[in-house]
Structure formats: C-alpha cells, structure tokens
Symmetry: C2
C-alpha cells in the first residue's frame, strides 16, 4: 500500500521532495500547501516544475488540506527557523499527522529552541505520531554520519568534519547565497543581516557532542568570506580578483578551551575539489572521505523522503537522526 | 550508574572486549565465563592479558555466573556459528539478561539460520530483553555503513563494497587464518574444510538487500587464494613467489542474473594499501573511502561495547544493526 503524502512548502527543496516522491514507488501524493497566492489553486506538477500534471491542487490552508486529503505523513519544507514553522507544525499535529521536515533548526533543537522542541514532543506524543527534522546538512553529512563512524571506536578524542564544495557547478541562487560576486564589505553586510549563512552548525555540533556525552561550555559559529585569488567564473557569474568567491563557515564546540568538535565548511567558485571528509581522532583514528561530496539539493530531498517510513514506524514524539534506525534508501516495498 | 557486564567467551575477541570494558567509563565487569578448564578459576584480568587483576573469577557455567553476579548485559564472544551458540543464548535469555554478541551468523540471520533467529526473538520477547549480533564485519563495514550511505540517495541501482587489508601488519593467527604461506593445494584443502573463510558475507548481502527491498534470487560466497607474484614477508612469516599470500572472498547478491550487491574482500601480505570503500551506483552516486580501513580486531570489540547501551534501551526481541539507532562511541554518561 502506498504512503499518502502531503507537501507543505513548495520552494526549491519542497519541489525537490515532490519530484522524488512523484518518481518513486511506494508513495501517493495526495495534497500540497503553500502560502504563495501565485501557487495556490494550480496543479502541483506544474508548480513543482514536473513535465506532467499530478492532479493535486495546491491549497493555502494546512488544516483544510489534511481534512480533504487524509495524508499518512506531511513533508514540511518551508523555513530554516523553528520559531517560524511552529504554527505549521502545530496545525499538522493537531490533525494527528506525522511530520518529516527539512527545517534546519528542527534537526537537533539546541539552545533557545529547546523549549519549542519540548512543545513539539508533547504535542506529537499526544497525537501519537512521530516528528523528525532532517536534511543533508544538518541531519547527515556533518552530524549523523560522523557519529556513525565513531561506532567502531574504542576511544574518541576529537572530531573534525570538512564539507568542501565547488559552487561553480551549483545553481545560481546557491552561488548568490554564498556571496559570490560581492565585495568583502557587501558580504559582511549580508552576514550581519543574516542572509549569507548556513543554518545548522550549532545543531550539528550539539548532536555530535550529545552522542559522545561531551558537555560543551561553548559553541561558536563563525562566517568568513573566501576571497578570489584570481578571476573566477561560473556559468552564471564572474568574480574578480579580490572580490568574494564564496563562504567559509566554522562551527566549533569547546570544552575547557579545547575544540572537541570542528565542523569546517567551504563553498566557493573555483574549489579544486568537492568532498565530504570526517576525521575522528581516537583509537582507532578514522579518516573517511566521500569524493564528489553529498550533493546538497538532491541529498536533502532524498533523506527527507527516505525518512518517511522510519517516522511512520517510530514511537510517538520528536525524533532526531540519533534516535531513528540507520538511514537507508527507500524505494517502496 | 555503571552497566554491569558479564563476559562469555575469552578468546581474542572476547578478551579484546574485556580490555575495552575495563578501560572505559560507565561499565563494571561483574562476571566471566569460559569453557576452557585452563581459564576457569583464574582472575579475568590475568586471562584477558591485562596488567592488573580484575577481581572477577572466570566461571564455567553461564547460569551459575548470572545468578552469582547479576549482570545488566552479557557480551557473548564464543563462536561464529549461530547453531553452536544457541545453548549459550538460551541460558542467558532464561535468566532474562540482554545480549550483545559477536557471533557472525547472528548479525543478520539468513537462510537456514532464520528458524534459530525466530526462536531467539521469541525467547527474548518473553524475557523482555533485547539481543543483537554485531561486529566490524559483518555488522558494520560491509553492511550497516553502506546502508547508511544510501540514506541520501534518490535512487540506488547497485552497491559495491571493498575491504582491502594488508595482512602483514596483523597478528600471526590472522595471517594464518587467511592462508598466508600455504601452497595453492593446501589452501584449497582448508577452504574445503571450512577453516580458511570469512564468515558473514551472506549475512551482509542479505542485510543490504533487505534494506533496499531487493528480492534476491541467489547469493554466492566464493573464496580464492591470492598468489604471491614475488617473495613477500611479514614479521612472522615469509611467502615464496607462487605460494598463497592471502585470501580473496566475494559475496554477491543477484536478481535475475544481475549482481546488485557485491562485497569484495582481500586480505593478503603485501597489499599496497588498506582501506574500506563503498560505491553506490545511483542518484547521486556515492564514493566513500576510509583510508587505513577499519581495524578488524579493535573495531569488532569496540562496536560490541558501543552497542551495549543501545541494546539496553531497545524494545525486547532480536535486533540487528538495521533496527537499532545509529552506532556511536560510548564513553559513559
């Protein structure tokens, strides 16, 4: 029997999820919701950029959509901010529907988000359904996978994860998001405004630290521009020498001044290599490298879809990638 | 509060587990069992090769040891064969004690072992405790980890795993186990007798296939000698050109003649490199490599110990690495 899916949020990631679910066995898309008036009322296939109609009309209201379509699960891809998605999560849980979300701050709610996570956990338990936040990063490349790699260790002293991406092969919005083509001053202004920023390093550091039972006393998340040493171009734009060609972002978890967890990201035009690497200092030491890296856009949609059957089988409440069984591809049963 | 451990089986792996548990926070060794009369009655620290006494006497009988020591968990490291460990598992479950075992055939009971697995599952549920079989291989390097890597895939077509080990840096029994120094005829005689053989490829192929929902119609497990192209030496022995320097073993899962899962192992003296690699053919394709590989002896003991808290928290019954939460190092809480 197919899993009936409701899709909330039809931006790039939400549409990527729609495309995968439409193409995979084991699913049936029954509903879709977006707040954009330009999308409401249209066919989901058209909105998501498929070459066929899905015979599902995009609706504006979550409660009405659930009532009309009776989904088994909601795939929620609207915002990075947990505070901003709270009303949506509450609407879905009120209707007792499980949730898989790509909301970065839901992947491992830390700090000021702990109270919201507690509320979601309580609502989910009352509704007797499970909720999880996931994605390639946070949710996998810089937290769940490094944790999995420590599973064969006798001792772990420190963990360093590197995610290095050549942005020139990515789509234009990604290249803009990382600040390519800006002056250093423009870049800093965007960092200060919070518009040039990967969301999730604090969550990933927290997930690793909790898995290792390391009590951190500080987590930092620092963004720097990567400056082009020479002129560099992509299909979409050209960056002159001295301008910003991308972003360097480091999330570090400290205990007594020692950096126990270091998450190092670079995404810039002209990177000679794209890869995801994990270095576990310990016994035995582990050096893992995925050449070509985990493709951001595809991988986030993939892991969200792959998490659906796991969330349907999970105990009620808010889960994380630490509490669910190991991730795996799902191609129907 | 420390986890009280009972150690059943004090061979190389069992002793490796004892060493790790003795050195880690969060555990207290309360008992040990071995059938070898030369070990019974002696102090566990001495038997396990520690430089200190553990004030735990090795006993001969499992039921008596449990009654005397009241363990929270049994770490069972006696045999690769599920049929052979059944009496031990039954004795432990009769006393309602959870089990983590390095028994290869328990990692993912396949084929003729399915009936025994069903019996363990029923006994464990009745005893309201969990059981898992794990190790680096089977249990991790060629099954759980490749499965985790498919978690970010939109589509998976085939999986190939390579585990290549330079045996010259391993202990003598390992070098002998892989047939180093034998003539090709001697090697074949040992293969026929079942004494030169890695146990677990069928289990690993089955675990991957089940995770992908691939219905296989054939699983093969083929052993070949690796012949020395020139004279090669280790600390312990020398292999002449034309003699056997190690083993090549392939486990392959087929569907309609297509090899969907290929697990390729080589362990021989003089391998230029030691590594564990995973290649997922699909969208996106994934190429992962752990340089230096996962150290067999340490890693199996590590993952057994690391699995203890997960088994204590798991629902009653027989688990596998697919049903437990993601592996992670455990260093006490």
């Amino acid at each position: 029997m197919s899993i009936r899916t409701l899709h909330i949020g039809l931006g790039p990631i939400g549409n990527g999820v729609v495309k995968q679910v439409a193409a995979r066995k084991g699913f049936r898309i029954v509903g879709a919701v977006d707040i954009d008036p330009a999308k409401v009322g249209r066919d989901l296939g058209e909105v998501a950029g498929l070459d066929r109609r899905l015979r599902v009309k995009v609706m504006a209201d979550i409660a009405a959509a659930i009532k009309a379509t009776k989904p088994d699960v909601a795939l929620l891809c609207t915002s990075s901010s947990l505070a901003r998605v709270m009303p949506e999560i509450e609407a879905v849980l009120k209707a007792r529907v499980p949730i898989v979300s790509t909301t970065e701050e839901l992947s491992y709610p830390a700090g000021r988000n702990a109270r919201l996570a507690k509320r979601i956990h309580d609502l989910a338990k009352r509704a007797r359904v499970a909720v999880v936040g996931t994605g390639v990063n946070p949710g996998y490349a810089m937290d769940a996978l490094p944790i999995v790699l420590t599973g064969i260790c006798e001792r772990v002293d420190r963990i360093r994860v590197e995610r290095i991406q050549d942005a020139s092969i990515r789509r234009l919005p990604f290249q803009q998001k990382i600040g390519a083509g800006l002056t250093p001053a423009q870049f800093q202004a965007k960092v200060d405004a919070g518009t040039v920023r990967h969301v999730g390093l604090t969550e990933s550091v927290s997930m690793i630290a909790d898995a290792m039972a390391w009590k951190l006393d500080k987590i930092t998340d620092v963004i720097q521009p990567r400056i082009a040493g020479e002129r560099v171009s992509s299909q979409f734009l050209t960056v002159e020498k001295g301008q910003v060609c991308g972003i360097i972002q480091d999330g570090v978890g400290y205990r007594k001044g020692e950096p126990l967890v270091t998450l190092h990201m670079e995404a810039y035009l002209g990177s000679p290599e794209t890869y995801d690497a994990v270095h576990v200092e310990g016994v035995p030491a582990i050096h893992s490298k995925v050449s070509g890296g985990f493709h951001g856009d595809i991988a986030t949609a993939s892991i969200a879809v792959n998490s659906v059957p796991k969330v349907l089988a999970a105990t009620p409440g808010l889960h994380t990638m630490r509490s669910l069984p190991i991730p795996s591809w799902y191609g129907g049963r």
